[in-house]
């Protein structure tokens, strides 16, 4: 951040300060009161995550039941500040074992103080990499990586690691069984008009990895994306095998990926961090295979009755199945009574969100269950106000299916000791915002 953060606060939903760190003196200690008074206790909450009060700017994010607030006094870099909060929360999560909430903060005061001091100094972000920080700040207490007393941890160049020259991996890791897990997780976003026209559709995908590898391995990942394949066939001067190629609109990589090599050879090669991390992110807008089609017909019969028929068609392979399918069909606010039949799963009326919620736990491919419902409405005095129908929303997970068609062609692990590795690859497609207007 060209302009540094003056303070960071962690507040609970009532606005009590759980813990804070003032990095600079240029904002008053009572700035948090201003935040509470002008944002938390007004309707402003949720209108905009960046607000200015009395010469200071507040950036805030809600994470579970905690507000994380950064206060700056100058013209700061917003993107950087938010990214910092996200990374810091990830760091805390990795220390607390997954959860980041009010209780976790209350139980880890000392640890959080230590971390806050390490990750930011005088308002400038320092090292936030959990791998490195865990070397000298641990849950059991604090060890010094430089300590000469413990001979069982020979970390010769820990200095370099602490300050981040090879920020993401330390040397001397040993695993009995060398394993790599690779997950391709895609979330498909759809906006369909009531006439069945796709207004907007894209897939944002992530390649997540979990590495349990000894030493300093070099990994190479091959995907069936168009640029990579073309480049390869060009290099090897042979035509690429026929098969589907995917055009990625945009890719971003974890800092471990050698971007120079990606740009020249179009292969993804990297020395992975230990444990879990997100290797790459991509976005695709062309040639998306939608896993579900939704065909709704909603008829308003007179003033007090609505007839709803929804057919959902799964368009992936018959041997595959989707899990946790939830279809939310909106109904008017003044719904009095509902009755429905479904050919699969279970449905109920949820008055809190004004929706019929239809759940199908296991949804095989190439099937088309239907729901037909009849809704009775309370007749109101304000009759002429027509019902503005919100879209139908859908949630699902389809294992072993990628909406983009992306596939892993190879994953090579090379380490100088030449051990064998076991590689696991999984695919899953989830619903992002899957909306069908009706």
């Amino acid at each position: 951040m060209p302009v540094s953060a003056s303070a960071i606060y962690f507040l609970n939903l009532r606005g009590d300060v759980l813990i804070n760190r003032l990095y600079r003196d240029d904002v008053g200690g009572n700035m948090v009161d201003a935040f509470r008074m002008h944002i938390m206790q007004t309707k402003e909450l949720g209108t905009c995550p960046v607000r200015q009060i009395g010469g200071c700017s507040f950036f805030y994010m809600r994470i579970s039941n905690v507000y994380v607030v950064i206060v700056v006094s100058g013209n700061a870099n917003v993107a950087c500040a938010f990214k910092f909060v996200v990374e810091a929360v990830n760091l805390f999560k990795s220390y607390f074992g997954g959860a980041f909430d009010e209780d976790a903060i209350r139980n880890n005061f000392v640890l959080i103080y230590e971390l806050l001091d390490e990750i930011m100094d005088f308002g400038y972000p320092q090292n936030l990499s959990p791998e490195i920080l865990k070397l000298y700040i641990t849950q059991e207490g604090v060890r010094s990586p430089f300590s000469s007393k413990s001979a069982d941890r020979p970390v010769p160049n820990a200095t370099l690691q602490v300050t981040g020259a090879v920020g993401w991996r330390r040397e001397g890791l040993v695993y009995k069984k060398n394993e790599v897990f690779l997950d391709i997780v895609e979330s498909v976003n759809l906006l369909m008009s009531s006439k069945g026209v796709v207004l907007r559709c894209d897939v944002t995908g992530k390649v997540l990895m979990k590495c349990f590898l000894s030493g300093m391995p070099d990994l190479k990942l091959g995907l069936n994306d168009k640029i990579g394949l073309e480049k390869e066939s060009e290099l090897k001067s042979r035509p690429s095998k026929s098969g589907k190629t995917i055009e990625l609109d945009d890719v971003t990589f974890h800092q471990c990926v050698n971007l120079t090599r990606f740009n020249s050879e179009k292969t993804v090669s990297f020395v992975p961090p230990d444990g879990e991390f997100e290797l790459m992110k991509y976005r695709i807008t062309e040639g998306v295979n939608l896993p579900f089609r939704v065909l709704p017909t909603i008829k308003e019969l007179g003033r007090t009755r609505v007839e709803v028929n929804v057919k959902v068609k799964s368009v992936f392979g018959a041997k595959m199945f989707a899990l946790g399918v939830v279809i939310k069909i909106p109904v008017p606010k003044q719904t009095a009574k509902t009755s429905f039949q479904v050919t699969a799963g279970r449905a109920k009326y949820n008055a809190a969100i004004d929706c019929l919620v239809w759940k199908i736990r296991k949804f095989p491919g190439q099937t088309e269950p239907t729901m037909s419902a009849e809704i009775e409405l309370i007749s109101t005095i304000a009759e002429k106000k027509s019902w503005t129908r919100p879209p139908i929303q859908m949630e699902f997970q389809v294992p072993m299916f990628t909406a983009s068609g992306l596939r892993v062609r190879f994953l090579k692990v090379w380490e100088k000791s030449g051990y064998n590795t076991v590689e696991w690859v999984r695919y899953i497609t989830k619903a992002g915002s899957y909306e069908i207007r009706c």
Partner: protein, 854 residues
């Protein structure tokens, strides 16, 4: 650091809850202090944890300071860290005790373990106590030369901390040049980054006073430094990369080859997973290519994909920050994004701040080829449950209509909105139809047919009502019942709160009168009567003006009110291109989010080290810039002006009657009542306006400028101006003020009450400040949050001997009380000044209840 206020919900048994616990802790710490028994460290850890816990939940444990320091003689790094934390927290409140810690901190700075050296040095620099500065220089100097990078990293920022405590000490010890050497030579990237941060800050702050510093600041942007940093960019952490990239964006390359070299080197940064790095790279690319139009466009094409990816991933807040930047780029070059309009479609569950930006982008990228799709999509949002967004989307449709040539389909859409019969949709649409008619009068037929069917009872919002009335007046010849609708509106004149609506009603009826005299005559009489009796100055004046105009010459009046109109061809842009360029220069910062250049929200001149006491805390010094109107307000303002410009400006060009000659009214019947009411209203007019001018000329001027509150003069007659002349432009800087405040003993305190109108006006303190300035009383600092406000004023006597008057004014708006303390260098005139001050403040309904001289 002020410890957070007591916040615990229900302390669990293990947590100390009060005073008893603190003294208990004190005892236990004492016992352990001298002990060397095995296992002492573990029990100390537990105790220290309890102390830290108490500190965090807001229990004051500063009384344990000496015990904590005694216990800190340990080799255990856990204990040391907790002790550092404790010391860092309470040192500021106990500067004398903090001196105790110096010894062991300095010793730790020479420890064998680099970790401890680093931590101790950080703690030492974080004490932020001016009386300890001398102890900092030594450890910092050796820290910068330490063979361990962790210590150097801490030391680099330590230098910056020292600079903020005592700039002179830092510069005298020659630390900046040491940092510079370190920055250019250190093998560790984080050390380099920290040196860079520190140097940037130090030299920017020094640049104002020292030429060398400003040269050094320029040197950071020189070719060797930039190239050195660029070549090492991959070693830096993602945060440090942002820092370097930001510096690169300011670099001015000598030729185009250099530009391409830098861009090639940085291109892969666009694929970085950290959105902040990508954004910083984009900034660099955009700024480097500003002079090369073609390449600049290619850069837009290149950065589009990464930006769109970032916007669609990550948390809402991150995507908002990125979307704001995308918004800026779209606004700069809408054509380049016209094919990507689908990315700006809103999702149902998106927060409204995201939707709002998307709507604006959709509006901007609309062109001949995509208008149909975009307008169709916008129409979907008009039925949105989120009312503000529904309104925005209707406005967006209207804006597109005003941009395009082919408005045929859009007009139909707009008219369909009117059939939705939702109040807010109707309201927004009416305003739009009005604007549309001003630009495309040829559509009047279609629009009028639909507008005529709207019942004026369903339109409540002032802007919409004004628009409807404008159309009724303007097109009264085409709308059968226009005179009758207008007439029914006059019946509710007294219930109509908006002056804008009343003004429009006046004008509309007059317009209608010239088009359909027999039907409107009665209404005209009624409206002029109502207007003349109106308490709003503008309404009253306009009614009077029309009345006299009609008396003077009817045909002239017609020319004034109903001139041939030209269609408005271009509606002015709400933001000047200069401001937009300024924002673009500050890409990747808050300016883009706030949509205004940084000088508008961070004026360093007005903020800074000036603080009177702890309790003032969030004091913002001086008058805030007058430009802090939000863009939306500005739009509204200019809309108003526009509306006025077609209807009123032409009117005001007509010959004006000076009102001395009262000829007999030309219109019989109805106008008799006009005269009657005229004669009635004249005395009240006299009473209200003129004495106000005479008594409180300053207030009246404020009011003319629209700055002053709508406050009636104080019920009691204002005190007569005392024979004290004040210097209109006294000069006093904050530190002198502080010094004088302490020195001057003669003071006068008084308490008083403020009327409710006064407190309402004080919700925006600028009003008060400007008002007082009109009385030669200047504000040096103001602050506080509602309901408590605090102001510091000063004034200077104009005659010899020159003397200052200092005022501290505390106002509580909820209890409507004010406390004033006046100090005067010249005691003999303190009462005279007090009277001046009170009379100035009496505009806000201030009344003195009692005073005491000290």
């Amino acid at each position: 650091m002020a410890p957070p206020v007591h916040t615990q919900r229900s302390p669990s048994p293990s947590q100390p809850s009060g005073k008893g616990e603190v003294s208990d802790l004190k005892m236990q710490l004492r016992q352990l202090a001298g002990s060397r028994a095995p296992g002492t460290d573990d029990s100390k850890r537990e105790l220290f944890k309890k102390v830290i816990l108490s500190m965090t939940i807001g229990i004051d444990v500063s009384s344990l300071f000496s015990e904590m320091v005694m216990c800190s003689a340990t080799s255990d790094i856990v204990l040391k860290k907790m002790c550092y934390l404790y010391v860092g927290n309470y040192a500021k409140g106990n500067p004398e005790l903090a001196l105790l810690t110096i010894n062991f901190l300095q010793k730790d700075c020479r420890d064998q373990d680099p970790m401890i050296r680093g931590l101790a040095l950080r703690c030492l620099c974080s004490l932020r106590l001016a009386n300890l500065v001398e102890y900092l220089v030594g450890p910092l100097g050796s820290g910068l030369k330490d063979n361990n990078s962790y210590v150097r990293m801490v030391a680099a920022i330590g230098v910056l901390k020292l600079y903020h405590i005592s700039a002179a000490t830092c510069v005298d010890a020659d630390f900046p040049s040491m940092l510079k050497t370190l920055m250019l030579n250190d093998p560790d990237a984080q050390v380099v980054a920290n040196c860079l941060s520190a140097l940037q800050e130090i030299w920017s702050l020094e640049a104002g006073t020292s030429e060398e510093a400003s040269r050094e600041r320029e040197a950071l942007l020189s070719k060797p430094v930039i190239y050195y940093l660029l070549n090492r960019i991959k070693e830096f952490s993602e945060w440090a990369q942002c820092l370097v990239l930001d510096l690169v964006a300011k670099y001015i390359p000598s030729d185009s080859n250099e530009i391409f070299d830098i861009m090639n080197l940085l291109e892969d940064r666009l694929q970085h997973a950290n959105g902040a790095v990508v954004l910083a790279t984009i900034k660099g690319f955009l700024h480097l290519t500003l002079s090369m139009t073609d390449v600049h466009q290619q850069v837009y094409e290149r950065i589009k994909a990464p930006l769109l990816t970032l916007v669609s991933s990550g948390s809402q807040e991150q995507s908002y920050a990125l979307l704001s930047h995308l918004h800026l780029l779209v606004m700069r070059a809408p054509m380049l994004f016209s094919l990507d309009y689908k990315h700006f479609y809103c999702q149902y569950n998106e927060p409204s701040y995201v939707k709002k930006l998307k709507l604006e982008m959709l509006t901007a990228v609309a062109n001949e080829s995509n208008t149909y799709e975009i307008v169709t999509e916008l129409c979907e949002y008009a039925a949105n449950v989120d009312v503000p967004i529904a309104r925005e989307s209707i406005r967006a449709v209207g804006k597109i209509a005003l941009q395009q040539y082919d408005v045929n389909a859009i007009v139909d859409r707009l008219l369909q909105f009117l059939e939705m019969e939702k109040d807010y949709v109707t309201a927004e649409t009416l305003v739009l139809v009005k604007d549309l008619l001003r630009k495309y009068p040829q559509w009047s037929h279609d629009c009028i047919a639909v507008v005529g069917n709207i019942s004026s009872k369903n339109v409540q919002e002032p802007k919409a009502k004004a628009a409807l009335i404008w159309m009724l007046g303007e097109y009264s010849q085409d709308m059968l019942d226009a005179p009758y609708i207008l007439e029914s509106l006059i019946d509710n004149w007294d219930d109509e709160h908006s002056a804008e609506v009343r003004l429009h009603l006046l004008t509309a009826i007059l317009k209608c009168f010239f088009k359909r005299p027999p039907e409107t005559q009665k209404a005209l009489g009624a409206v002029l009567a109502a207007g003349l009796a109106d308490s709003h100055q503008d309404v009253h004046d306009r009614a009077l003006f029309y009345y006299r105009l009609l008396q003077y010459n009817v045909s002239v009046a017609e020319r004034v009110v109903n001139p041939p109109k030209q269609a408005v061809s271009v509606f002015p842009d709400t933001q000047s291109s200069e401001i937009r360029d300024r924002i673009f220069d500050e890409f990747n910062s808050l300016s883009v989010i706030y949509q205004k250049p940084s000088y508008m929200f961070t004026d360093k001149e007005h903020r800074g080290s000036f603080e009177f006491s702890e309790d003032l805390g969030s004091l913002s010094v001086g008058v805030e810039s007058a430009d802090n109107i939000s863009p939306a307000q500005r739009v509204e303002a200019s809309d108003n002006d526009l509306l006025l410009s077609t209807s009123e400006e032409e009117e005001s060009r007509g010959p004006s009657n000076n009102g001395s000659a009262y000829s007999a009214p030309i219109y019989d019947g109805s106008s008799i009542s006009v005269v009657a009411s005229q004669t009635q209203s004249e005395p009240t007019f006299q009473n209200r306006a003129f004495p106000a001018y005479a008594l409180q000329s300053n207030l009246a001027i404020d009011d003319l400028l629209g700055l002053g509150p709508q406050v009636a003069p104080a019920p009691a007659p204002a005190p007569s101006p005392p024979p004290l002349n004040l210097n209109a432009r006294p000069v006093l800087d904050p530190s002198t003020f502080q010094r004088k405040w302490r020195q001057v003993s003669a003071s006068l305190s008084q308490e008083g009450v403020i009327t409710s109108e006064g407190t309402a006006a004080l919700m925006t303190p600028q009003v008060l400040l400007r008002h007082m300035q009109g009385h030669s009383i200047h504000c040096i600092a103001s602050g506080g949050q509602p309901p408590n406000f605090k102001f510091f004023f000063y004034a200077q006597k104009a005659e010899e001997p020159v003397a200052f008057y200092l005022v501290e004014c505390l106002i509580n708006t909820s209890s409507a009380k004010a406390q004033i303390e006046i100090k005067a260098e010249d005691q003999s005139t303190i009462h005279a000044f007090s009277v001046v001050f009170q009379s100035a403040l009496s505009t806000f309904g201030y009344q003195n209840l009692g005073e005491s001289l000290v």
